[in-house]
Structure formats: C-alpha cells, structure tokens
C-alpha cells in the first residue's frame, strides 16, 4: 500500500463518502445521485463497466473503498458527456469519473495494466515535455509500452494507418526530433510544478 493511501485510510477511517467529497474532483455531488440509472444506460462503453456510474455512487456511500478505487470501471469513460447532459439531478458525472480515476491513480490503487491509465500517463508526459502533443512520439510510445517485440508487432499492425497519415501530410516523419514544442516550455514546467504543489497542499497530499 502506498504511503499516501495509508494516510488517507487512517484519516477517513470508514467514511469513504467524506474522503471522496474532499479529494475527488466534483466529489461533493456524489450524495445527490438518486439511482435512476440514466447515466449507466447512456454510456457508450456501458456494457464494459464492471460497475457503471450509478453503481459506483452507491458503492461510495456504502463505503466500498477498495472495490471502487481498484475498479477498471471509470477508466472506461470516453469523455462523451452523455451522462452529464442527461442526469436529471445535473451531477457532473463525467468529471466525477475523471476525478475518481485520477484519485485512484494518485493513491497507486488504480489497476496497473489498465490500457487507458497507461495511455493517459503517456499522454500527459508527452504534452508537458514541450507544451504541445508530439503525435509520432505518442503513438510510438503507446505501441512499445509492452516491450520491443510487442511494439514491432503493434507497429506493423498500425503501419497502413500511419502510412495513410504520412502520405496525406498528417504525420511528421521527423517527429522524433522535432515538433510539439512551445517557446515557453520551461515556463510551463515551472507553472505545472507550482500547480501540482498547490493542489497537493489543498488536498492534503503533500507530506
């Protein structure tokens, strides 16, 4: 168990709802859920969620901390915002799902091999490096996530797609060397370091 996770378990004891309200983006909305299930029925990846949003909300209230945070469920969110616009109680469900995933990831409880968790990490690291997306590095990074031989296999599978993009001028063949750079990249690093510092302080994540 990560240090931070221990701290949070100790701090909130059996009150998982309170923990979510304090630490998860838009978590204070959870108790407003009236269990109608419109969110679950509206989700494009609905069938793949072990626990759809409505169920997660009830589990949070029932104190099922481990089951919620270790779940693959919220990693299925495609950010389509169907649930937000349809929720009769106007819960910002998409943001809560993002918040839960982010919180689980920070505590080190999120499923290690979940592909979206891994891709999301790769993506953020890619964009903060130069300030903009470097699409070639991002795709190659994704293919080679599971080692060299898997990367070659995946790269070959994706070759027709990549070639199509390259031929139509939508992929930079020199992207490994350049691209995705802001002049203010150094400033962005400093800004993000500070932002993380403040967020850690506000949410009690800092030691």
């Amino acid at each position: 168990m990560s240090e931070l996770n221990k701290v949070m378990v100790e701090k909130y004891r059996n009150d998982f709802l309170k923990e979510v309200e304090a630490n998860v983006e838009e978590g204070n909305w959870v108790k407003m859920c009236m269990q109608c299930g419109v969110c679950s029925g509206s989700c494009p990846f609905g069938p793949y969620w072990e626990h759809p949003p409505q169920e997660l909300f009830m589990m949070i209230r029932a104190g099922k901390r481990e089951e919620v945070l270790a779940s693959e469920s919220m990693w299925m969110c495609t950010s389509c915002y169907n649930c937000i616009v349809r929720c009769p109680r106007e819960l910002p469900i998409t943001h809560i799902m993002h918040g839960l995933a982010n919180y689980a990831h920070r505590l080190g409880i999120a499923p290690k091999m979940n592909p979206t968790r891994r891709f999301a990490k790769l993506f953020w690291e890619n964009i903060i490096k130069g300030g903009r997306v470097n699409e070639l590095k991002l795709s190659i990074g994704l293919y080679f996530m599971d080692g060299f031989s898997n990367g070659v296999k995946k790269g070959l599978e994706m070759l027709p797609v990549g070639l199509g993009m390259f031929k139509t001028g939508r992929l930079n063949p020199f992207g490994l060397l350049s691209g995705g750079k802001c002049k203010g990249a150094g400033d962005i690093h400093k800004m993000l370091k500070k932002a993380k510092e403040i967020e850690n302080r506000r949410k009690g994540f800092a030691p």
Partner: protein, 305 residues
C-alpha cells in the same frame, strides 16, 4: 460585411504535419472568403485534452488552459477566443467556467501562472467559442449561403456531430440529442443532408481509440454503418478526433468485421471551401486518406456564371 476578428486557439492537431493539418488548411480558406481574421495566440499550449485528467489532475490542467487564456488577454485583448478543435474548445471553456465560479481556483491558478511570468485580469468578459458557433451566431445561415458559387448538388452527406462539440456545452438553441446545425450547414452549401442519420451524436471512442481499440472500433462501425444505411456518400464532422477515428480505422474494421467501408470523412470547412469556389488543395482534400472524390470533382469544375 465588416471584417471580424478573433483570438485563435488552433490546437496541437492543427499543426503542420499533424493529424488535422488539412482541417486548418480548409479553415484558413473558409475564413478568407468570410473575411474572418484569426489572430493566433502566441505560443499557445495543449489543453490537456480529454485524457489529461488522469495524470494531470485538476489544477495543472486548468493552469494549462489558463496560460492560453492569459496569453490571449495579453496579446489579443478583448477578443473572443475561437477554437476549431472540439477538445481544445471544451478544455478552455471548462477552465473558463471553473475559474469564473471559484475564487480559490482562480487564486491558485494565478499563483501557478506567475511561475510562467503571466497573470490574468479575469473579468470573464471574453467568451471561449467553437468555430461553428462563430459561423452560426456571428454570421448566420443566410450570410453563410451568400458566397456559395458551387452548390454541392447531389451529394448526400451524413452530419456526424459527435460528442464534444455537442456536449456538455453544445451550440445555443440546439438539442443535445438531435442537433441540426451541421445538416443546415450542409444544406445551405447545396448538398443533401441525410436527416435520418441516427448515429449523429454517437461517441467514436475519443482518445480510447488508442487504448481500447476494439471497443472504440465497434462504436465507429455503428457510426459508419448508419451513414451507409441512409444513403450517405460522405460523412461530415466538426471535430478532429471524430474525423480521424471515423476515417483511419476503416481498413482495420473491414478486416475484423468483413465490411467494405470506404467512405470519406470531411470537415464542414472543407465543404464550405469547395462550395465557396476553392480548389481541392485549398480545401485540404489532399489530406483525406479516403478521398472525397465527389468534392474533388466539384472543386475541379469551373464556376458557373
């Protein structure tokens, strides 16, 4: 018509040799016809996109968008920020709303921005808008129809609005479940919108097309199948992620499902550029992997006088 000016946030995918570079080409041509001046926000950065939350958290994500807003305030004061990418628009607008609603979030963001040598004089007067909003609200369908010199006659088009241009913010006066603006745009360009297209707001998987390709491709299959079912020869969209996902995986979907998909997926700005008399190159049609031959043919014809 007087020249209209906006602060412009093009976004990563619109860069040269990036996945939506052809969108940018067509937007530039369309804006030239409509006399729109886009003042690019100097040194803008990524919005964090829809997947940035997992590692980036809340405040760092808002700081990224706030930097763009602050740079826009500094260099393009008083101008609305216009984005062509759905995710850029959503990210910037969401940050704008959060900062307007929470004094603490605003104070924290300003503290982070200081590290980048920036501050924001946040009055919330400037709007964050998608290009389609500019077209519909600042021009209107009648004005947009005026420069049409080559109506896209006989082309049947499925208007695929997708998610993030439509939800959670959407376009004023349109419903989330059945937005009609794309069909209207298609119609005033002289083409035939496929009004019964029932997958117009279905999610293509977004960023999860990378991490969950099978699940996303099942979505994309539905989106394309319905377009064919209702007789569309082409799909049009306002979103770079929708465009890419629905276009580039057709080969893989065909292999997996035994389908024979081969349908062009274009941007609204490409249709408009061609209808306004632009060449295939000016419409960025050379950037479509599945070539939009019908549009290319129209673009190659001389303008009827």
């Amino acid at each position: 018509m007087a020249k209209k000016e906006y602060s412009f946030y093009p976004g990563c995918s619109s860069e040269r040799k990036a996945s939506a570079s052809n969108y940018m080409v067509s937007v530039e041509s369309m804006c030239k016809t409509l006399d729109i001046k886009l003042n690019e926000i100097p040194d803008w950065n990524c919005c964090g996109a829809s997947i940035g939350y997992a590692e980036g958290g809340e405040l760092p994500r808002h700081a990224m968008n706030a930097r763009n807003i602050a740079l826009s305030e500094k260099h393009n004061p008083g101008q609305d920020i216009v984005a062509t990418c759905a995710a850029c628009w959503l990210g910037a607008k969401e940050t704008h709303e959060r900062l307007s609603a929470s004094e603490q979030m605003l104070a924290d963001t300003r503290e982070a921005l200081k590290e980048a040598g920036l501050d924001m004089d946040y009055k919330g007067e400037v709007e964050i808008r998608h290009m389609v909003e500019v077209l519909i609200e600042d021009f209107g369908y009648d004005q947009l129809a005026k420069p049409v010199v080559k109506p896209l006659e006989g082309v049947k088009i499925a208007g695929y609005v997708g998610c993030q241009t439509n939800r959670p913010f959407g376009v004023v006066g349109e419903s989330f479940e059945n937005p009609k603006y794309l069909d209207k745009l298609t119609e005033i360009m002289g083409a035939e919108p496929v009004e019964k297209y029932d997958q117009k707001v279905t999610c293509c998987g977004g960023a999860l097309a990378f991490s969950e390709p099978e699940k996303s491709q099942a979505q994309i299959k539905k989106i394309i199948e319905s377009a064919y079912d209702f007789g569309a020869e082409m799909i049009v969209t306002p979103c770079p992620v929708c465009q890419m996902n629905v276009e580039v995986y057709q080969g893989q979907i065909n292999k997996k499902y035994g389908t024979k998909f081969h349908i062009p997926v274009t941007y609204y700005s490409q249709l408009m550029t061609v209808a306004y008399g632009g060449s295939a190159k000016e419409a960025g049609l050379d950037g479509n992997i599945v070539r939009a031959t019908k549009l290319e043919e129209i673009a190659a014809k001389p303008v009827k006088r």
